[in-house]
């Protein structure tokens, strides 16, 4: 009886933590930090080889809270002739011609109660790579910053930006 109880106790104890570790592993799988996109858009080519400025496509970064993703018209202005034979571009063209929207998967997601403005940061001289990493080397863009409050505050304090609660919290 005592042997059985000891067995059960140890197995239960290890099992609990084992389950928790497996559950964490399961929770971390999938697209949480590096979502696959409907079109395999290579930043390595556009931001890397072609060295396009980020604002060439993310046009509102300097003027608005949101950096924005480019409209399909913008993609097609080049791709109606360029690399038109490639499978991904054909897919893009089909979506464009059907007049459908392209549902890009969001990579960076802030909670609803956070007020964040791209305009403030870009105009304040924070380079895009400070938060987004070296996207020119990422085949599929992934989240490279935790977006935790401590990280925001460290930078705000370092650069003398405001640290009032209401600066970021609605």
């Amino acid at each position: 009886m005592a042997r059985l109880l000891l067995n059960l106790g140890i197995i239960g104890y290890f099992g609990l933590f084992l389950l928790a570790a497996v559950a964490l592993g399961g929770y971390w799988t999938g697209d949480r930090q590096q979502p696959q996109q409907p079109i395999a858009f290579p930043h390595t080519v556009h931001a890397g080889t072609l060295q396009l400025a980020c604002e060439f496509c993310h046009r509102y970064a300097k003027q608005s809270r949101r950096a924005g993703v480019p409209s399909l018209t913008r993609c097609m202005s080049c791709h109606q002739t360029l690399a038109a034979e490639r499978e991904e571009i054909k897919k893009l063209t089909r979506i464009f011609e059907a007049g459908q929207p392209l549902h890009w998967n969001r990579v960076y997601r802030l909670p609803d109660f956070i007020y964040f403005s791209h305009k403030r940061h870009v105009r304040g001289g924070v380079p895009c790579a400070a938060c987004h990493g070296d996207v020119a080397r990422m085949k599929t863009v992934r989240q490279v910053r935790s977006l935790e409050m401590g990280w925001c505050l460290a930078c705000h304090r370092d650069l003398g930006a405001p640290t009032d609660c209401t600066t970021c919290h609605n």
Binding site: R59, A129, M138
Partner: protein, 407 residues
């Protein structure tokens, strides 16, 4: 220290990971063995027990820091630190940090050397106990530095801010690593004790075996919370499913070990040392490999550049940038043309300085081309119509011809 060339990076990373796993195993055996030796010595002093005194001597004789092992261990730590610096360039690996870590380690190893000498020469336990405790504390001091450094390597987003607030160097993950290390060190040294007990003097053997088993159990019981504590305190960008699964696999290996040990202890039976040592080594390697994977997850895809630019960008650019007066033509060029054209080099389209001269003084022809591009050179793809308004086309043409004159 040279930067590692990109071509050798995977090989270098594997070697670095192997070096760190070796150091982890070595340190765990050293710390566990030393801790146990001191506990036995303390009991020997309290009970004036020659058996325990002999046991403490036997343990100190087996520490993996004796003879050549001490300098070799120090060298391994120094090489690992240099390799980490080469690979990741962390700003906290400054000469004072490196110096203090290596001096602390050298001090700890020297004290451990004297501990063994004193223990074998002196009859009383007092002075060796003092020297040994000081050595172990110094060793634990270096471990704190290594644990904090290891945790900070997973958190490069805080590096630019270390100058402002050095407390960023401390983290819950570092504390979790220390706990986990202890949970690995105890069973490893316990298993080493068991497997090496046969070569000990016969009167010490039962005592060593029993203590070895007793030492391994609390370590194994500490392992599950230690593993989970490390996992939940990992920075978001360091979380990898495979790392979590490796930790789970380590627990899966530890479970039957713990069951066996508890039953054998309860029934007063011995356990074979070598299989236990092999299993505990496997647990240490699984946990260590999870750590290496987490770090590589953080360091993939050029995160390095991001941490370099956050402060560099802030220094180079004024807090309130001075607005450059940019004409509508320049803006249009940036928005519509710059994706394919540069003035001085071929991109998607030809260098503009090569094709624009034919439009010198012929703004109308240039405007017509922009309005309705015609494929001229078979070397290049056809230029798409940009669907601009007439006044935009005129501004763009004026800007292009103006730039041509400036060159």
């Amino acid at each position: 220290m040279p930067v590692v060339p990109a071509a050798y990076l995977p090989l270098f990373t594997i070697l670095l990971g192997a070096g760190q796993l070796l150091q982890l195993l070595w340190t765990a055996a050293l710390v566990g063995g030393m801790l146990f030796s001191l506990v036995v010595l303390l009991q020997a002093q309290r009970h004036r027990d020659p058996l325990r005194m002999g046991c403490a001597r036997e343990l100190s004789r087996r520490l993996p820091a004796n003879g050549l092992f001490g300098p070799l261990y120090w060298l391994l730590a120094a090489v690992n630190l240099a390799a980490v610096y080469s690979r990741y360039r962390p700003p906290f690996l400054t000469p004072p940090f490196l110096g203090s870590a290596l001096v602390l380690l050298a001090g700890a190893l020297t004290l451990l050397f004297f501990y063994r000498r004193l223990l074998h020469r002196q009859r009383s336990a007092g002075i060796p106990l003092l020297v040994g405790t000081a050595g172990l504390l110094l060793l634990l001091g270096t471990l704190v530095l290594f644990a904090c450094g290891g945790a900070a390597l997973l958190n490069p987003e805080y590096w630019p801010h270390l100058d402002y607030n050095p407390l960023h160097f401390l983290s819950w993950n570092a504390l979790a690593r220390l706990l986990l290390f202890l949970a690995l060190a105890l069973p490893l040294s316990g298993a080493a004790l068991l497997s090496g007990s046969q070569s000990a003097p016969p009167d010490l053997q039962p005592y060593l075996v029993r203590r070895g088993m007793l030492l391994a159990v609390p370590g194994l019981l500490l392992l599950p919370p230690g593993v989970l504590f490390v996992l939940v305190t990992l920075p978001v960008i360091a979380r990898t499913p495979l790392g979590a699964l490796l930790s789970a696999a380590a627990l899966l290996v530890a479970l039957p070990l713990c069951l066996q040990l508890c039953h054998r202890l309860r029934e007063g039976r011995d356990l074979a040392g070598r299989p236990l040592l092999a299993a505990v080594t496997l647990i240490v390697l699984l946990v260590g490999l999870g750590d290496v994977l987490s770090r590589e997850q953080v360091w993939a895809d050029g995160t390095v550049l991001a941490r370099q630019t956050v402060s560099a960008g802030a220094e180079q650019q004024p807090a309130v940038p001075v607005a450059q007066p940019v004409g509508p033509g320049a803006q249009l060029f940036r928005a519509h043309c710059a994706v394919c054209h540069r003035f001085d080099k071929r991109l998607v389209g030809p260098p503009l300085l090569e094709v624009l001269p034919r439009y010198r003084g012929r703004s109308d022809a240039l405007q017509q081309f922009i309005r309705q591009p015609v494929k001229r050179d078979p070397d290049y793809p056809a230029m798409p119509a940009l669907e601009l308004r007439q006044e935009e086309i005129a501004a763009l043409a004026a800007y292009l011809l103006d730039r041509l004159e400036q060159h």
